[in-house]
């Protein structure tokens, strides 16, 4: 069971390019992907609040 799992991991690791691609994925995710998602989420939150204000709540108190 255990050997099988690590064998599969090694295989797929090799399939996608090894530790170089791990580093690339990590850096892209941490410094580009997630910050973009954060900004997007905050913007979406802002829009949602604004639309709720337009539709139901009126200007903030």
């Amino acid at each position: 069971m255990k050997t099988q799992h690590s064998a599969a991991a090694v295989m797929s690791n090799e399939a996608t390019g090894g530790s170089r691609s791990d580093w690339r994925n990590f850096l892209l995710l941490a410094f580009v992907g997630l910050p973009v998602v954060m900004v997007g989420a905050i913007a979406a939150y802002g829009f949602v609040v604004w639309f709720l204000q337009l539709a139901f709540f009126g200007p903030p108190s």
């Binding site: 530790s19 791990d22 990590f26 802002g46 609040v49 604004w50 204000q53 903030p60």
Partner: protein
């Protein structure tokens, strides 16, 4: 698409084999700190006056206007910048306001306020948005800098003390009274009171029969001919007229009013001796015996002027008459009660007489945000419910009394 999903799932679920956990966590931590800092820096940059001004000055002179006020330059050396007043200070509302600014970016691209002229035209709409915002949050932004609890009312100018004390007692929103603190006020000319829209739509559904009396819900131009080409004057809102006939889009009405026998006698009033403006004729027409029928004359003992009872008929566009004046007064009363009770209790309508109201009203209306059309209706309402028309004893609503009780 499938592949992308696959890639993302792998990215999150498949453990890294070669990079140590500590390195990953540390890297993630650093990335988190940097991006949060970057986000805040960006927020701050878009909250800088220079940023606002990059759009709002060159074209429309908001900055030069601000520079003439106390918030630009004062003995204390504290400056109020655009975002101090205009951008909410807490996170959620601030983010929402920033996203709302997508409308500003769009407006900038399209050029809604690209020139001073366009800006002046559009200004009222923008100002009303800001007024609504300030009145909803009780002028929170102003109160970040100066709030009632920190004010020493005794040190204020005497002219400020009564108003400011009663404002503090009611915890009232600053911008209710202090409109135009930082910029020129928009012209109220284009403003419309939405309450009138209902009235106008009621009027268009009103069935009108010849020979009956009706009231105007909006001012109308008067014409000599059925085709409505020869303008001879205008008739005011809430004026009573008798309908003579309706032809197509036009209606012939009869005006039975009073005028002063002085000058041309262009301005016609609804009652003898009372300056309630009801119609204004063009100069040439006012003395035209073919149009104007003088029924009687009477001298006003107060002024020694001779008043004439006059009658005339004219054409106007149909669709602005209703059979009762009460709905008009209801709107006027509501407007009066909200706009004129901001600084003092609104005086009783019957506390002054008809000919005193116009002067008092003209002195006060500038303090309010009533638009021009509504102001005319409110004045007419006050005049028509003044002591000249009231049967009850007046005095209870005296403004002296109101100001007195406003004092703590």
């Amino acid at each position: 698409m499938r592949k992308l999903f696959r890639f993302i799932a792998d990215l999150f679920l498949r453990p890294s084999v070669r990079i140590g956990l500590g390195v990953l966590v540390t890297g993630g931590f650093i990335a988190g700190v940097l991006s949060w800092q970057g986000f805040n820096t960006a927020m701050e940059a878009t909250n800088k006056e220079e940023f606002c001004i990059s759009c709002h000055t060159m074209h429309d002179n908001l900055l030069p206007e601000l520079q003439k006020t106390v918030h630009w330059n004062n003995r204390s050396g504290v400056r109020a910048r655009c975002p101090d007043c205009h951008v909410p200070h807490n996170f959620t509302d601030k983010v929402a306001r920033k996203m709302q600014a997508s409308r500003e970016v769009w407006g900038h691209l399209v050029g809604t306020i690209g020139t001073r002229e366009k800006f002046k035209e559009h200004r009222l709409v923008l100002a009303q948005r800001e007024w609504a915002r300030f009145s909803a949050n009780g002028s929170k932004e102003c109160r970040a800098c100066h709030d009632y609890k920190d004010m020493d009312f005794d040190k204020m100018r005497p002219s400020s003390q009564v108003a400011m004390r009663s404002a503090a007692a009611r915890d009232q929103s600053c911008v209710d009274c202090h409109k135009g603190v930082a910029h020129q006020l928009p012209e109220m000319k284009g403003a419309r009171n939405p309450a009138f829209d209902t009235l106008v739509s009621n009027a268009s559904g009103q069935s009108v029969s010849a020979g009956n009396e009706y009231y105007l819900v909006v001012p109308q131009d008067l014409f000599a001919d059925e085709a409505l080409t020869q303008r001879i004057g205008s008739v005011e809102v809430a004026t009573q007229v008798k309908v003579l006939e309706t032809k197509g889009d036009a209606q012939r009405i009869e005006l039975a009013l009073w005028r002063k026998n002085k000058g041309y006698g262009r301005v016609w009033y609804s009652n003898f001796g009372l300056n309630i403006t009801s119609a204004i004729l063009d100069k040439e027409m006012a003395r035209d015996a073919g149009l104007v029928n003088v029924l009687a004359s009477q001298e006003d003992p107060m002024t020694g002027l001779e008043w004439q009872q006059v009658k005339a008929s004219a054409w106007m566009r149909k669709g602005s008459l209703i059979d009762s004046v009460e709905p008009i007064w209801t709107i006027a009363r509501a407007s009066y009660n909200t706009s004129c009770s901001v600084c003092h209790r609104q005086p009783d309508e019957a506390h002054f007489d008809t000919n005193t109201w116009p002067g008092l009203f003209a002195g006060m209306v500038g303090f309010t945000s009533i638009d021009q059309d509504t102001a005319r209706v409110v004045l007419k309402y006050l005049q028509s419910h003044s002591s000249d028309f009231s049967t009850s004893q007046h005095g209870a609503g005296s403004p002296e009394g109101a100001l007195q009780t406003a004092r703590p």
